[in-house]
């Protein structure tokens, strides 16, 4: 198993073309993103202190990331003290091996899993299969994806690309049911019955982690369906896999994230279920708990001062739902477990610029993603920064890079049209005031001045853009 399992090689432009041709996918995505967008706007609008929460969320993440070594050490100590075991995994292969050894060490051949992007990233299910262990996905959508042998298309609603008629057909083919209508309640009921049997028999559960508290060692999983509760409560042994950036300093800090996440994610005041556990609780739930801390490229992201903020991400998927590129192409086109704007900045950094170099160009820099991001990741800033890195990398390896032709169009799309240009500025102004940080330019000179009226341009990117522009022979 290599580190890039879960990432597919086809570049964004090729995959996007395929997706654009799929009418069902476009219809479902259009409906989904519109619905979630409206719900989110409503519940966010209810809180008059939303901007203060966002700022606190961003600041807490900055504190964690700048002192990640301290917090990880603290977390290891507190989890261990509470009766849990902590494992460190440098890459996907190591994480998968750790999980597989725990499962097979107990003589088990099956695990129940609650949806987790982190274990998708490591390709855990495939690795477990190779070790002779079946991993049962227990989210309704993940089950649909798994039964249909699909890749998921949305962080939050992975089966967004399937219609109910398709789901009915799939269940009739793969589950032990004879009759089924395409009523969502009935479809959910069929999945419930199927998975209940798995829950009652599985001895090992596998989960991701939304937050882990350094001070108490408490781990938190946020979910809707109750399969998360099942996975973290019923089995004798629980293994949770988390990216190292998920650590949060103290319990109190969750007063911020537990407001930001559900409202940004599903557009609800609170998601149906949130579970917290601290190591092992005597007589309640799993009596053996393992926490796997995964690097898999995250320390490289951490080392990049502009890219570092990417690790603020709490995986709410709000940026997907406002992204015009995502709405038209869908999640599969990003060829990664992380689609949309966050995928466009996270994947190339985790995987390496040479592997996913077309992704930073899959954006129009309209800034909508930054405005909705509950932890204020300046996605356009990181995109521009990564584009510069891609171009620098390409310049070092081959004379005229292919995928960059798309980049020209993407950047040009905003720059070339006065209306879009102004829309971008308005969008940026509607958000909170961009805080000037070290190394940024408040105003560009001459014809580019308007571009910086609503936003700052990072120094590095501007220079690279101009070098690149010149190398391309200017406008075309």
């Amino acid at each position: 198993m290599s580190a890039e399992v879960g990432f597919r090689p086809e570049p964004f432009p090729v995959a996007a073309r395929t997706a654009l041709a799929d009418a069902q996918l476009r219809r479902n995505l259009g409906k989904a993103t519109t619905t979630i967008r409206a719900k989110r706007a409503q519940v966010v609008g209810e809180l008059d202190d939303w901007e203060a929460l966002r700022e606190a969320g961003r600041a807490l993440k900055e504190r964690v990331l700048r002192h990640l070594d301290d917090y990880l050490e603290q977390l290891e100590e507190s989890v261990t003290q509470a009766g849990g075991h902590v494992h460190w995994a440098r890459d996907a292969a190591e994480a998968n091996r750790i999980v597989a050894e725990i499962v097979t060490g107990h003589g088990e051949r099956e695990v129940v899993k609650v949806k987790s992007l982190t274990t998708d990233e490591t390709g855990l299910n495939e690795a477990l299969a190779a070790a002779g262990v079946s991993a049962w996905e227990t989210d309704l959508a993940e089950l649909i994806v798994q039964l249909g042998r699909d890749a998921s298309s949305h962080i939050l609603v992975p089966a967004i690309h399937k219609s109910r008629a398709e789901i009915r057909e799939l269940f009739l083919r793969t589950l032990d049911v004879d009759e089924l209508t395409d009523e969502p309640t009935e479809l959910a009921g069929a999945a419930r019955a199927h998975l209940r049997r798995k829950f009652l028999s599985a001895r090992v559960g596998v989960s991701g982690v939304n937050f882990a508290l350094a001070d108490s060692g408490t781990v938190c999983v946020v979910e809707s369906e109750g399969n998360g509760r099942m996975c973290v409560t019923l089995p004798d042994v629980l293994v949770s896999v988390m990216g190292i950036e998920k650590v949060v300093p103290t319990w109190r800090d969750l007063e911020v994230f537990l407001q930001l996440l559900p409202r940004s994610s599903t557009g609800e005041r609170m998601n149906p279920y949130t579970s917290f556990w601290t190591g092992v609780a005597d007589g309640d739930g799993p009596q053996e708990f393992h926490l796997v801390l995964l690097d898999n490229g995250r320390t490289d992201v951490l080392a990049d001062r502009i890219g570092r903020q990417t690790l603020n991400c709490i995986r709410c998927s709000a940026c997907l739902n406002v992204c015009p590129v995502y709405e038209r192409t869908g999640g599969h086109a990003y060829r990664s477990v992380y689609p949309g704007p966050i995928g466009a900045i996270l994947t190339p950094q985790l995987q390496g610029i040479d592997r996913a170099g077309s992704l930073p160009f899959a954006s129009t820099l309209c800034g909508a993603c930054y405005e909705v991001c509950p932890v204020k990741i300046d996605i356009p800033e990181v995109l521009v920064h990564l584009r510069a890195r891609v171009v620098e990398h390409a310049a070092g390896t081959r004379p005229v890079p292919g995928p960059e032709a798309l980049s020209m169009r993407a950047l040009g799309w905003v720059f070339a049209d006065r209306r879009r240009y102004e829309a971008a500025q308005r969008a940026a102004r509607a958000g909170s005031v961009t805080i000037s940080r070290h190394g940024r330019i408040r105003r560009l000179p001459g014809p580019l001045a308007a571009w910086t009226e609503g936003r700052d341009a990072p120094t590095v990117a501007r220079q690279s853009f101009r070098q690149w522009w010149a190398a391309r022979g200017g406008a075309r």
């Binding site: 609603v157 109910r164 959910a188 509760r229 109190r252 949130t274």
Partner: protein, 210 residues
């Protein structure tokens, strides 16, 4: 791995402490609305998740439990061993989950519902929090049965998430597991229609007392 983390953070001055990174908590940490208003809001928001809320007087809890069970034909309920005596109705079989003699999963799966108390309710979000304290039992008892009937004292309703977090700090420090419940189990995975109940209890009812 920690060495890699440290190498990645070379730009952070060695004498910078975590507390030196400013975190401005400019958000609201309490809701000063009068208690009556908070209780109304709690009831309203729980109902928005399609959970039923019944408001009852303190001496009416057992009768309300009996009525609710009769209405849905629930005959056997699991209860934590320390459920207050005055909540226990006649005419419904109550199966107690005891410390040292816990019910197995198959038995719990076969019961009609669960009757528990809770630690607190959050008005702003319509959330019920179970913190493994008195009258709540193990996490699994409110998970496997398809029906959860939860008794919430009106005096336990707090305004906002930060107030709930503050009130739960001791339970977390003591290592007790917590479950936050906002409405019945739900999914919107099929063409984004909200469907009640995939895995957790498909019906949640709240008895709001006092």
């Amino acid at each position: 791995m920690l060495a890699r983390v440290r190498a990645a953070l070379r730009d952070v001055p060695p004498d910078e402490a975590p507390k030196d990174v400013p975190v401005e908590r400019g958000y609201r940490t309490r809701d000063d609305a009068p208690p009556g208003e908070l209780i109304d809001r709690f009831a309203e928001r729980v109902e928005e998740y399609e959970a039923r809320v019944l408001r009852v007087d303190a001496d009416q809890v057992a009768a309300a439990v009996a009525t609710a069970c009769a209405a849905r034909g629930a005959r056997r309920l699991v209860i934590p061993h320390d459920l207050p005596a005055e909540w226990r109705p006649d005419g419904v079989e109550l199966v107690a989950d005891r410390v040292g003699a816990p019910l197995d999963h198959a038995t719990l799966d076969g019961l009609d519902g669960a009757l528990t108390g809770c630690a607190l309710g959050i008005a702003e979000t319509g959330t019920i929090v179970l913190d493994s304290g008195a009258g709540q039992g193990r996490r699994v008892i409110s998970l496997l049965p398809d029906y959860h009937l939860c008794v919430v004292g009106a005096d336990r309703v707090v305004g906002s998430v930060p107030e709930a977090v503050a009130a739960l700090a001791d339970a977390v420090a003591a290592g007790r597991p917590l479950t936050w419940i906002s409405g019945p189990s739900a999914t919107s995975d099929i063409e984004l229609d909200r469907v009640e109940g995939v895995h957790g209890p498909r019906t949640l009812e709240v008895l709001l007392v006092g």
